[in-house]
Structure formats: structure tokens, C-alpha cells
């Protein structure tokens, strides 16, 4: 079980309100990702759920019980930290066994469960090593092993992959997703990387300055961002946001169109512009184009084989079905 509900949860550090009153419901078994720029309060929110920070106001319920004043040790949640936070003086085996030892699980049972977790995480050969003798990826796996042995109500991940190199990150992303599919335990995952959010989440919570900007499935957020902040944050490369005359044509203050929803042509199109920097990724090419009559440079996605060069004149046509319209306050117009 791992149903978590936040009711009017507020966090203040002295005079500064980091999290204004906030409501959120996390269903049992969901994979929820908190995403937002640094300083948006996503880690603080996770630490409030963990109990590592005290709530200034409001209520946190875990499986229907008020856990607002429950110490972290008693909440039945497991956490994986960005720095791994392994116990350097203990072997991998004792690291993973530590929560079981704290729970008073007998030695034989402890050994059995550690072996099982190690097998799942490919750590069997490393059980007698110290954390200092492991690579970053292995350390992260030990941290996950320590979390899974105790069969928590929910897992909390605080930017767990940001200390890993890019290749390893993709691998661990998959492993965590697979782990969720297998365990079906609630997972709350904090990241500033919207790619991680999009690829892993059942539900994304976009945060800015402690406020929830939007909650929804990755595709809901991609298709119908509620405001310009979410529009710009979700999707890579980010959505092109245009104001001025071009927006006025659509009766909006701002319009948004994603790089992948703009057709590129050398013959004709709605907009005409000059190619700036091109980024060739092999599978795709991103062109940065300065369009005549539009102040903001546009990013456009084309196929990997499209050959255009700096200074070339090209034509662009946005897909009219996929133009997002926003009002003065930045909110989505329907």
C-alpha cells in the first residue's frame, strides 16, 4: 500500500514560504515525478513527505493515516538520495541489510532478503565490498537495494541519477522503470530533467516556486500544457513561444509551436527565414532559424539527412492543428 495525500501542506523557512499551501494526491502504485527548475521546491516537497523536514502547516496522510508528525523512521517509506548516502564503513551486504536490522528482522531472514535484492540488482559479486570500492552506478544500485529490501509503502527518489554519466543514466532509468513495473509500489521521483520525467512517469507534477503548475500524464502535459511555463518546460527541444503580430493572428497573447510540428521546405511555406546553427544528432537535425518578421529565433526539427547550412533560406509551416494559444496571464486558451 502506498497512497499518499497532501492537504494544504505548507513549508516556511523563517519568513520565507518555500511551499505555499499545496494539495496533491498520489495513488497507490503510481510512478509520480516532481519536475521543475532548481529551487522550485521539488526536493523540499519530497523531504516533507519523507519526514526529513517538518511541515509548517497542513496534513500528510499515508494510507489514510495522519503521518504529519510521524518521524521518518516510522513512515515506512524508503529513500534513494542523489549522493547515494551509503554507509561507508559497512560492506554492501551490511548496507542493504541495515533497514532490516533496524526493523529487528532475524539474521537468516535478513541474509535471504539481501541475497534476493542483490540478485535483482546484479550486486551478488560485490556484497563483501565497501561502497568506496564501487563505481557510481553500482553505488546507486546498492542505494536502491537498501530501499527495496524493506518493502516500503513507497519509494522516494531525490535526483538519483544526476551524479551518473549520460550512458549510465539511460540504463538506470530503464532499471528503475522495470523495478516499478515489477514491484508495483508507489514511487515518487524528483528530477530537474524533463526527459526523465517524460520517460518514467505515470503522472508528472510540474512545480514552480513551490506551486503546482500542472499535474497530468506525460502526454497530457505534452499535448495540452496549461500555461506557457509548462509549455516551455515539457518537451525537448523546448516549444517555440511567439508573441506579437504572429500571436495576434490567432487571437492570443502568445502562441506556442513545438519544433517537431513545423514542416521544413526549400520551396514554399508560411514563414521564410535564414538558417543559423544546425545541430546534427544523426537521427534528427535541429535548425535554429531566424524568421523574417518574428523576433524570437525558432527551433525546428527535421530529419537526420536534411542538408541545410548556415545562411540558407528556408520555408517553415507550423501544423495549424498543433498551435497552442495562451492569454495575457500565460494560461492556455481553448
Amino acid at each position: 500500500m502506498g497512497h499518499i495525500a497532501l492537504n494544504q501542506v505548507t513549508k516556511r523557512f523563517g519568513e520565507v514560504t518555500v511551499i505555499p499551501p499545496l494539495d496533491l494526491e498520489i495513488e497507490d502504485g503510481a510512478f509520480v515525478v516532481f519536475v521543475g527548475p532548481s529551487g522550485c521546491g521539488k526536493s523540499t516537497l519530497l523531504r516533507l513527505i519523507a519526514g526529513l523536514e517538518d511541515v509548517s502547516d497542513g496534513r500528510i496522510e499515508i494510507d489514510g493515516h495522519d503521518a504529519t508528525a510521524t518521524p521518518p523512521a516510522k513512515r515506512g517509506l524508503a529513500m534513494v538520495f542523489q549522493s547515494y548516502a551509503l554507509y561507508p564503513h559497512m560492506s554492501v551486504r551490511r548496507n542493504i541489510a541495515f533497514p532490516l536490522r533496524m526493523a529487528g528482522v532475524g539474521r537468516a531472514e535478513r541474509d535471504k532478503r539481501v541475497e534476493q535484492a542483490a540478485a535483482v540488482l546484479n550486486l551478488t559479486d560485490y556484497l563483501d565490498r565497501r561502497p568506496g570500492q564501487l563505481s557510481g552506478g553500482q553505488r546507486q544500485r546498492v542505494a536502491i537495494g537498501r530501499a527495496i529490501v524493506r518493502e516500503p509503502a513507497a519509494f522516494l527518489f531525490d535526483e538519483p541519477l544526476s551524479n551518473l554519466d549520460a550512458a549510465l543514466r539511460v540504463g538506470m532509468r530503464l532499471e528503475i522503470s522495470e523495478l516499478h513495473a515489477r514491484l508495483k509500489t508507489t514511487m515518487i521521483y524528483v528530477t530537474h530533467d524533463q526527459v526523465e520525467a517524460m520517460t518514467m512517469a505515470d503522472k508528472i507534477v510540474v512545480l514552480r516556486a513551490g506551486h503546482i503548475e500542472q499535474v497530468g500524464s506525460p502526454l497530457e502535459l505534452y499535448r495540452a500544457p496549461r500555461n506557457t511555463f509548462v509549455a516551455g518546460f515539457i518537451g525537448s527541444p523546448r516549444m517555440n513561444l511567439l508573441s506579437g503580430a504572429e500571436a495576434a493572428k490567432h487571437d492570443a497573447q502568445t502562441i506556442g509551436v513545438r519544433p517537431e510540428h513545423i514542416a521544413v521546405s526549400t520551396g514554399d511555406g508560411l514563414w521564410q527565414g535564414r538558417v543559423g546553427v544546425s545541430e546534427h544528432l544523426g537521427s534528427d537535425t535541429f535548425f535554429h532559424v531566424q524568421v523574417d518578421g518574428i523576433a524570437e529565433p525558432l527551433t525546428v526539427r527535421a530529419g537526420g539527412e536534411v542538408a541545410m547550412h548556415h545562411g540558407d533560406r528556408i520555408f517553415l509551416s507550423p501544423d495549424p492543428q498543433r498551435i497552442h494559444r495562451f492569454d495575457k496571464a500565460g494560461l492556455r486558451l481553448t
Binding site: G51, P72, A73, R150
Partner: protein, 276 residues
């Protein structure tokens, strides 16, 4: 870029370091040498270096006249007891200051240290009266208490510095893993801080061992420690240089040996946290 060190500078600094080291060591060396002379040879002018009749007589006399083993035992109990008691109080204190600091934590730390700057004689009278009142005068337990209190600021400061080096996330991880406060301190913090705790222990043993003001003023024959033992041989009349030297040698030998074998730990302890 690393600074270039010529062989000449290296040789010069080595010689200088040795010269200073020997200069500091010389009084100890001279004390040990004198302890093997007769009283007459001890005050011989010019001083005798090695050309004298080596004798163990002083050691025999000192042991016979005053009970060395009992005094040594007192010193061990007082130094060990005050260190142990101090560390038991200091670990939780340093934990709270390092990991859950309040707005006034820094002030408290400074205030604690400032008590070390108070001349001890300033509080001798009240403490002496208290000791009489409580029946602690000339008792080992009394000395243990007073030395614990005297050295506590330093123990807390040292441990605080060590604990600050331990990432808070590891303790938070322990909390998430179900560890209550006691388990967190016992199984996670303390083992991680073992090098720091060890050098704090060592330094404190040495400080307590060498403490002379309180041990001289608050004891008579019963709880006398080695510092009192040495002092009893320093007399304005009579010829006691050789015996005084023998007594001193016997008093400093244990701590000298301890210090010799733990100098690495000690140096690390005293410079810990100075650079990252």
C-alpha cells in the same frame, strides 16, 4: 604550479627542523639522563653528559619512598575516567550542534571555548568549597568530575569539527532506514567518526594526564596523581635533582610512549578540517 625546491633549501630546512626538534626534546632528554646520576653528579659543574656512573638507585628510592604504582593508578583512573565521561557527554552534544544547529549554536560553541580562557585560579575558591561541602576533596571521583568539566569544551569542539565533515544525507538515510536517534548515533555516526573520536580521546587523555593545577590543589595523599608525585620531589631544601628527575621520568614515560605510537592520529586530529 608546484613551487620548486632546490636540494640546498631542502637540506637547510631539514637541518633547521631537526635543530628545533632536538632543542624541544633536550629538557626531556636531560631529565632522563639526570635520573641515572647520583645526586652529586646531577649538580656537577661542568654538567656530565655520558661519563658518569650509571645507577638505578634513584628509581629504587622513589618507588620505595612514595608508592609509584598507586599514584600511577590514580593518574590512569583520572585521565581515563574523565575522558570516557567527557566523550559520553560530548558525542550527543556535538551531534546536536553539528546536525540540528539552532540560531545560537555558534554562540554556545564560542561561549564554551571562552570558559577555557578563564584563569583556573579564579574559580579555585568556589570549587574548593564545593568539594569540601560534597566530600569530594582528595577523591578520584572528584578529580574525574572536575577534569571532565575542564576539558569538555575542547572535546565538544573537536568532535563538532569532525561531525561537520560527515554528510548529513548519510544520517538522513539512516533515519529513512528506520534508525531511531540512538541507533543513528551508535551504528552510523560513531563508526564513521572513529578516527576523529580516537584522536579526541588521545588528546584528552594527554591533557588530563598532564593537568597539574586541579590535581595539585584538590588532592592530598589519597587521590594524588603523577603531577603531584613529581611536585613532591621539588623542594627548596636538600639535594633531590636526581630523584626529581627519576620521578619525572616515571611520570611522563607512559604518556610519552602513548604519544609516540599515536602521533599520526594526533597530528591528523589537530589539523582535521583545516583543509578540505
Amino acid at each position: 604550479m608546484a613551487r620548486a625546491v632546490t636540494p640546498r633549501t631542502k637540506a637547510l630546512t631539514t637541518i633547521l627542523a631537526w635543530a628545533i626538534g632536538l632543542l624541544i626534546f633536550f629538557p626531556i632528554f636531560w631529565t632522563i639522563l639526570t635520573s641515572f646520576k647520583t645526586e652529586a653528579q646531577a649538580i656537577n659543574d661542568p654538567p656530565l653528559f655520558f661519563s658518569f656512573d650509571w645507577t638505578f638507585e634513584n628509581y629504587a628510592v622513589v618507588q620505595e619512598r612514595s608508592n609509584y604504582s598507586r599514584v600511577l593508578w590514580n593518574s590512569i583512573i583520572v585521565a581515563g575516567g574523565s575522558t570516557l565521561l567527557g566523550i559520553l557527554i560530548a558525542i550527543p552534544a556535538a551531534w546536536s550542534m553539528a546536525f540540528v544547529p539552532g540560531r545560537r549554536t555558534k554562540d554556545i560553541l564560542l561561549w564554551m571555548l571562552s570558559t577555557k580562557m578563564l584563569p583556573a585560579v579564579g574559580v579555585l575558591y568556589p570549587i574548593y568549597l564545593l568539594f569540601i561541602e560534597l566530600g569530594l576533596l582528595d577523591t578520584r571521583i572528584g578529580l574525574v568530575i572536575v577534569l571532565t568539566l575542564i576539558n569538555l569544551p575542547i572535546i565538544i569542539w573537536m568532535l563538532y569539527t569532525y561531525f561537520r565533515e560527515i554528510p548529513g544525507e548519510i544520517l538522513e538515510a539512516a533515519r529513512m532506514d528506520g534508525a531511531a536517534l540512538r541507533a543513528e548515533i551508535l551504528y552510523v555516526l560513531t563508526p564513521m567518526a572513529v578516527p576523529g573520536i580516537a584522536s579526541t580521546l588521545l588528546l584528552n587523555v594527554i591533557l588530563a594526564w598532564n593537568e597539574a593545577f586541579w590535581t595539585l590543589n584538590l588532592t592530598a595523599a589519597g587521590a594524588q596523581t603523577l603531577t603531584g608525585f613529581i611536585a613532591s620531589y621539588s623542594s627548596p631544601e636538600g639535594l633531590f635533582y636526581a630523584k626529581l628527575s627519576a620521578a619525572s621520568t616515571m611520570a611522563i614515560a607512559p604518556i610519552l610512549i602513548l604519544g609516540w605510537f599515536s602521533q599520526k592520529q594526533l597530528v591528523r586530529g589537530l589539523t582535521f578540517g583545516a583543509v578540505k
